[in-house]
């Protein structure tokens, strides 16, 4: 036990002094959420605001443009109307961005409208320009509604006559349930990825690194049992994985509390989900999972001759962590006896049910059973693998 602690302490110190590991283990998970929330939130709200308020240059095309239409458009916020008459070059201008849009009024518009027929207005725009279509269509809609009201009044018809049915939609699901359905699967998934990434660099550094630096013989000739060396090192790998997931949680909290760009409901509900009991429960599942990850990463790192080789073997394995996580987020995939046995997927699905308050405890037990079994088997494999001289000294 003393040896294991000695080794773990030294390896932890060593790991914390490695810039590469620090980056992947502490800086990235801690800053990811705050950065995403502030940067993405700001950019999004900024650009949305800009799109809705910037001045639009709009061609008004046609010889029969009614004055009331022109007046209505001019009243619209920040529009510059450019009368185009019969000129047909407006399409090119819209295409080339010198105009934002064109409103073309058909030649017989006035007479048709006056005769209780339908007058045609064509809106030319580029859907790639955010906000243009929405702003102009709104204005035309308001104009149309006004004409309709005038006609109904003229014909002495009540508005209800042409609206026989009114549909009111009321969603009785709580915000917690709605967001929980997605966030419940998504939040653990983020932490699972950080557990893996946080464990990856230390695993490579602690095993392949020893080979690369030529220190493996030194540690093997010290009077410590190999299993103790392995246990000490592996526990550091597991701790760093869990630590980086914890830091991601801290980052998520910080991001939620400091970023004012998120809709308040999201902040509130995510805050409600991230209760201490929930985080503790999640950690009890992440611990065996991270041990399982370590059990995969360590034999690879023992086998690899160089950092590069280790990374090139581990990179494709990332997919096996990312893909099952996505399966867990997909709608319609539920926690069953089968899915409860698949690592990564089972955690995402179980947390979804826990958040929604519909967890089946028998299945939760199966989830823990499966996670622990996978952890035990992979560690046993690591122990066997580390015991083989050809693997350790492969150079």
């Amino acid at each position: 036990m003393k040896d294991i602690l000695n080794i773990a302490r030294k390896e932890f110190k060593d790991t914390l002094r490695d810039k590469r590991t620090l980056m992947a283990m502490i800086v990235v998970p801690l800053l990811l959420f705050p950065v995403i929330f502030t940067v993405v939130g700001n950019i999004q709200s900024d650009s949305m605001e800009k799109a809705m308020s910037r001045e639009l240059k709009v061609a008004l095309v046609g010889s029969q443009v009614p004055e009331d239409l022109q007046a209505h458009l001019e009243k619209g916020s920040n529009l510059r109307l450019i009368p185009f008459g019969q000129d047909t070059s407006y399409r090119t201008y819209v295409r080339s961005d010198s105009l934002d849009a064109a409103v073309a009024v058909s030649e017989d518009f006035r007479s048709r409208v006056n005769n209780m027929q339908t007058g045609r207005i064509t809106l030319y725009f580029q859907s790639t320009e955010e906000g243009v279509e929405q702003r102009l269509a709104n204005l035309v809609d308001q104009y149309r509604a006004r004409l309709r009201r005038e006609r109904l009044a003229e014909l002495d018809i009540s508005e209800e006559v042409i609206q026989p049915v009114m549909l009111d939609m009321v969603d009785v699901a709580t915000m917690q349930e709605k967001i929980g359905k997605y966030a419940g699967g998504f939040i653990p998934y983020i932490f699972i990825i950080f557990c893996f990434m946080g464990a990856m660099y230390p695993a490579i550094d602690l095993f392949t690194g020893e080979k690369e630096r030529g220190t493996i013989e030194t540690i093997l000739t010290s009077p410590v049992r190999r299993i103790h060396i392995l246990t000490g090192k592996m526990s550091v790998v597991v701790v760093t994985g869990i630590l980086s997931a914890l830091l991601a949680i801290v980052g998520l909290f910080a991001g939620l509390n400091f970023a004012d760009t998120l809709p308040p409901q999201v902040t509130e509900v995510t805050g409600d989900i991230l209760q201490p009991q929930f985080i503790l429960l999640l950690l009890t599942m992440l611990l065996p999972l991270t041990i399982f990850f370590a059990g995969i990463l360590v034999p690879i790192s023992i086998y690899a001759k160089s950092f590069k080789e280790a990374q090139s073997i581990i990179t494709p394995i990332n997919i096996f962590v990312i893909l099952p996580g996505i399966v867990g987020i997909l709608p319609g995939v539920e926690l069953t006896l089968q899915t409860a046995l698949i690592p990564v997927v089972n955690i995402a699905l179980a947390t979804k049910d826990i958040v929604a308050g519909t967890i089946d405890y028998a299945l939760l037990t199966a989830v823990y059973g499966s996670l622990i079994l996978f952890a035990v088997v992979s560690v046993a494999f690591s122990v066997r693998y580390f015991g083989k001289e050809t693997n350790i000294l492969r150079a």
């Binding site: 030294k10 009077p223 000294l393």
Partner: protein
């Protein structure tokens, strides 16, 4: 004391290795029924060309590798059955031994002292003596990654000797080092002898062997071609120079094999 009796080490080959070596055999014999004895207070040199089996033999002594057959006893302990006891009696150093770059010499030597089960009083005293003799104090709290090769080698020596091992194993200790740095190692080997330790070192550099060793074994393709005192070797030489004699013996063995 190191006693090697009828030691054989075979490595199993995988497909890739078979292809590389152009052989259909399932295994390759790195060490083939060798017998050697290294006495305390004497320097034993294992001389041989690359791939002769030197490193394999030394790694078995250091318990990094397990023998396929035969026995090796180090300071009275069997390498197969009492690995930990053997490791606590030995110091192991190679020319390519690396150190943990992100630790300081002080942290590193303390770490290995603790792994060797030393109590902190003995460890501190021993560390102080070694740092003094090797002049490590001036850089003992710098990160090892920032040190020069010579400084690193001194730290390696302190690391090897911290637990005052009875037996010291050097695997090509000066390979890749400049003369000044190599000199530290030569001094260390002499010091070990004066302290009555058992010293075994492997080399393919004849001048080094000539300078240091009391007993000599020449190894080639896993077999011992010569085993005896250095003085006897010099006396029965056919060629004038040690290097030429070494080459003659190895070549002789090759012709016989063909």
């Amino acid at each position: 004391m190191i006693e090697i009796k009828d030691l054989t080490k075979q490595f199993r080959l995988n497909k890739q290795q078979k292809k590389k070596l152009g052989t259909g055999a399932g295994s390759v014999t790195a060490v083939d029924h060798i017998n050697l004895t290294c006495q305390p207070g004497r320097i034993f040199s294992l001389l041989g060309p690359n791939g002769a089996g030197k490193t394999t033999t030394l790694r078995i002594i250091a318990t990094i590798l397990q023998p396929t057959s035969g026995t090796v006893r180090v300071a009275g302990h069997d390498v197969t059955k009492e690995g930990r006891a053997v490791r606590s009696k030995i110091g192991f150093l190679t020319g390519t031994t690396g150190l943990y770059d992100r630790l300081t010499p002080d942290e590193l030597v303390t770490y290995f002292g603790k792994l060797n089960g030393m109590d902190s009083t003995t460890l501190e005293r021993r560390k102080r003596d070694l740092f003094h003799t090797l002049e490590i104090f001036s850089f003992s709290s710098k990160r090892i990654g920032e040190l020069s090769t010579g400084m690193k080698q001194k730290v390696s020596i302190a690391r090897t000797m911290i637990h005052d091992p009875e037996v010291v194993v050097f695997d090509e200790p000066t390979s890749g080092l400049d003369v000044i740095t190599a000199e530290h190692i030569i001094d260390l080997i002499r010091q070990c002898k004066d302290d009555g330790k058992t010293v075994i070192f492997s080399s393919h550099i004849m001048s080094e062997v000539d300078l240091l060793c009391d007993d000599l074994a020449i190894i080639h393709e896993g077999r011992i071609l010569y085993d005896g005192a250095m003085d006897d070797f010099r006396a029965q030489m056919v060629n004038g120079s040690l290097t030429k004699e070494f080459i003659r013996i190895v070549n002789n063995a090759k012709t016989q094999a063909e």
